[in-house]
């Protein structure tokens, strides 16, 4: 069992996938000799050369569009958007094109591709290097949206993602790249899209999270357990679309209380959909209101350290909300 960081998990799995599948190319800004600004593609260029590790022009629209074209013509491209904040120039190509190609052609022209993008705050990135953008895509039928937060999940989900015949958005929390270390099984495994993972067991309340919020929620839960005897069950979504309602509902049947935490702006975030589903389908099981803790509704994470901390879903803030829920 190897111990890896999230970043190593991404890098090693990309390497493995490119070895395994001839038709996978990696493309994006600075993914070549530079190995990506976060070094997620380091070593790929030396190993596979410029035909399979393509430094693109500085143009996200066409990074995605060219990936779509390559997907139509036999490839399974893995495109990198350098920061999730810069995915919007490609929005039309992702939403109107990639997501709709299969449906609009009645299945004739699927576009299997992966778009990787580092997202999230906590790296002093300010308004434009910290954004969480997943909710723009979870609303779009035709897109898979993944947000794994541990090395093991990154490996298993990336291996699966490259085998599904449709576009996948693969969001990697950049603050966790070097921060999170974890075990990666030596034996080959895959993780199916749409399977959440219970990262901590507990009977009092259920907490649903992903990304930095997941790790902070675990910290908060451990503290609350120690100090106040509140036992939280922490569900790591890993996959946002498909959403594993089965696992969420099962936990909720046990606890009767649920909190959804994410870093993305709370209003209209993915947590809203999860809360709405629960409110409709689990009404009789609820012992307390469905609670959410999302990012404040300001335009992304500010730069100055205290302001950035104010924005982020850190353990103390989550613990406060968990306590409120437990005491309800």
């Amino acid at each position: 069992m190897a111990i890896k960081t999230n970043l190593q998990a991404v890098r090693d799995t990309l390497m493995e996938i490119m070895e395994r599948y001839d038709n996978v190319v990696v493309m994006g800004e600075d993914v070549g000799p530079r190995g990506g600004v976060f070094q997620a593609t380091r070593g790929l260029y030396d190993r596979f050369g410029p035909d399979r590790v393509i430094d693109t022009p500085l143009a996200e629209l066409s990074i995605v569009a060219v990936a779509i074209g390559m997907a139509l013509n036999g490839y399974h491209p893995i495109a990198e958007i350098q920061f999730a904040d810069f995915i919007f120039p490609a929005f039309n190509q992702i939403v109107n094109e990639a997501a709709r190609y299969r449906y609009r052609s009645n299945g004739a022209w699927p576009v299997p591709l992966i778009i990787r993008a580092p997202y999230g705050g906590g790296v002093s990135g300010g308004l434009y290097h910290s954004q969480s953008v997943e909710a723009f895509f979870t609303h779009v039928p035709g897109l898979y949206v993944l947000a794994p937060s541990t090395p093991k999940d990154i490996v298993g989900l990336l291996r699966a993602a490259v085998q599904v015949p449709d576009p996948v958005l693969f969001f990697e929390h950049k603050r966790l790249y070097g921060l999170v270390k974890g075990e990666v099984p030596d034996d080959y495994y895959e993780i199916r899209l749409g399977e959440a993972d219970i990262k901590r067991r507990g009977d009092d309340i259920t907490v649903v999270a992903y990304g930095l919020a997941l790790h902070e929620a675990i910290k908060a839960a451990d503290k609350l357990s120690e100090q106040e005897g509140i036992e939280a069950e922490i569900i790591d979504l890993r996959s946002l679309v498909p959403l594993d309602l089965d696992t969420i509902y099962e936990s909720l049947r046990k606890t009767g209380k649920i909190l959804i935490v994410h870093e993305d702006n709370q209003t209209g975030g993915w947590g809203a959909e999860i809360a709405a589903r629960i409110a409709e389908e689990m009404f009789d099981w609820l012992d307390a209101p469905v609670m959410r803790l999302g990012g404040p509704d300001v335009p992304a994470v500010p730069y100055a350290p205290p302001l950035e901390r104010w924005f982020l879903p850190l353990a103390d803030k989550i613990a406060g909300k968990m306590r409120e829920l437990a005491e309800y």
Binding site: D51, P57, L61, R100, P242, L243
Partner: protein, 345 residues
């Protein structure tokens, strides 16, 4: 006196020339019928290729059918017919009927798609296909295949960022691709002079280090020459060409448009004298390949096909309602849905 250089169109046989003529007429008559069906309330929408048939037929004949990649302009009825789409297919799509091979009644008419002919699914947002076409071309090149990608669009679409980015990729990677702009001088009501400050769309090629060529898009043989050369060059690895076919749309933008607010009847009438079918008939007659009897023969054949297609399509059902919910994602054992029917299970 310098000897006239041999042109690609000189190699076309008499049969081929007459086939080109046939496709121009077929496309035109289908198209006219579609307008009528719309006016009769039997089709909610139609966007027309009338007046654009010369460049469309030219590119259809210049491509290697089923081998080259083709992202059509939405007006490219004639080209699609050449590549294997039938009049029945066109009429089924017009009415959104079961049997519509483009989208099974999901998309508006003229959103072509036909995988066996490598006709890639057309979407409505203009220009999006241009950088995608750079993608198929890049894939062909990296795989060492001698496929060429052809992508069509109007001059209005060249204002979108997609155009710039697609041509930029083509230039950087010297891709096997031909960009075909049908410059009909209007984007709905907006004249090309409000679309760009240059005379020719083709003048933009230089910004990407690629070839640009202007051709009379109403002259089918001139258009063929230019398209054939561009495609051959691309296939030989000599890089991309931006072809600008100057043409005109003598009808409104679509069945939803009324063009009287933005251009004079005189302008339209003047262009009708340069109708690509008229022009080609003159050539064929001069070459002794066409006379009135032969014209009537082609027309009869075409009208029979059009009538058949209309009758057939009118009598087809709509796709079943259940079909609308299907096929958002492909099946995969690596995906687990909590519940069926919505994207989130």
């Amino acid at each position: 006196m310098t000897k006239r250089q041999k042109r690609p169109s000189d190699e076309l046989s008499d049969e081929q020339l007459l086939e080109m003529y046939y496709y121009m007429v077929l496309s035109r008559k289908l198209d006219e019928r579609m307008w009528i069906l719309n006016r009769q309330g039997k089709a909610s929408f139609h966007i027309s290729g009338i007046g654009h048939e010369a460049i469309q037929v030219a590119q259809g004949f210049a491509m290697r059918k089923g081998h080259d990649w083709y992202f059509p302009h939405y007006r490219d009825i004639a080209t699609c017919l050449i590549l294997g789409v039938t009049p029945r297919h066109m009429m089924l799509a017009l009415m959104g009927k079961e049997g519509d091979i483009f989208s099974r009644g999901r998309q508006m008419p003229e959103h072509f798609s036909y995988k066996p002919a490598k006709i890639v699914s057309v979407s409505s947002p203009v220009a999006t296909a241009i950088p995608q076409a750079a993608g198929t071309a890049l894939a062909s090149k990296l795989q060492g295949k001698d496929e060429v990608t052809i992508v069509g669009f109007g001059e209005g679409a060249t204002s979108e960022g997609d155009f710039h980015e697609g041509l930029n990729w083509a230039g950087i990677h010297k891709l096997p691709i031909v960009f075909v702009c049908q410059n009909n001088q209007y984007a709905i009501s907006v004249h090309v002079s409000k679309q760009m400050a240059v005379e020719n769309v083709a003048d933009r090629a230089v910004a990407y280090g690629i070839r640009g060529v202007v051709v009379d898009g109403n002259d089918v043989l001139a258009s063929y020459d230019v398209m054939k050369e561009a495609i051959d060059r691309a296939r030989r690895g000599e890089g991309p060409t931006l072809v600008e076919a100057k043409t005109y749309r003598p009808v409104p933008h679509s069945t939803a448009d009324d063009d009287r607010s933005y251009r004079s009847r005189e302008e339209v009438e003047a262009w009708k004298k340069r109708d690509p079918i008229l022009l080609f008939e003159k050539v064929l007659m001069e070459r002794g390949l066409l006379d009135e009897a032969k014209k009537q023969e082609v027309l009869d054949r075409v009208m029979a096909e059009v009538d058949d297609a209309v009758d057939y399509a009118l009598n087809q059902p709509y796709p079943p309602i259940e079909s609308a919910a299907e096929g958002v994602f492909g099946d995969s054992p690596l995906v687990k849905w909590s519940k069926k029917g919505t994207i989130n299970g």
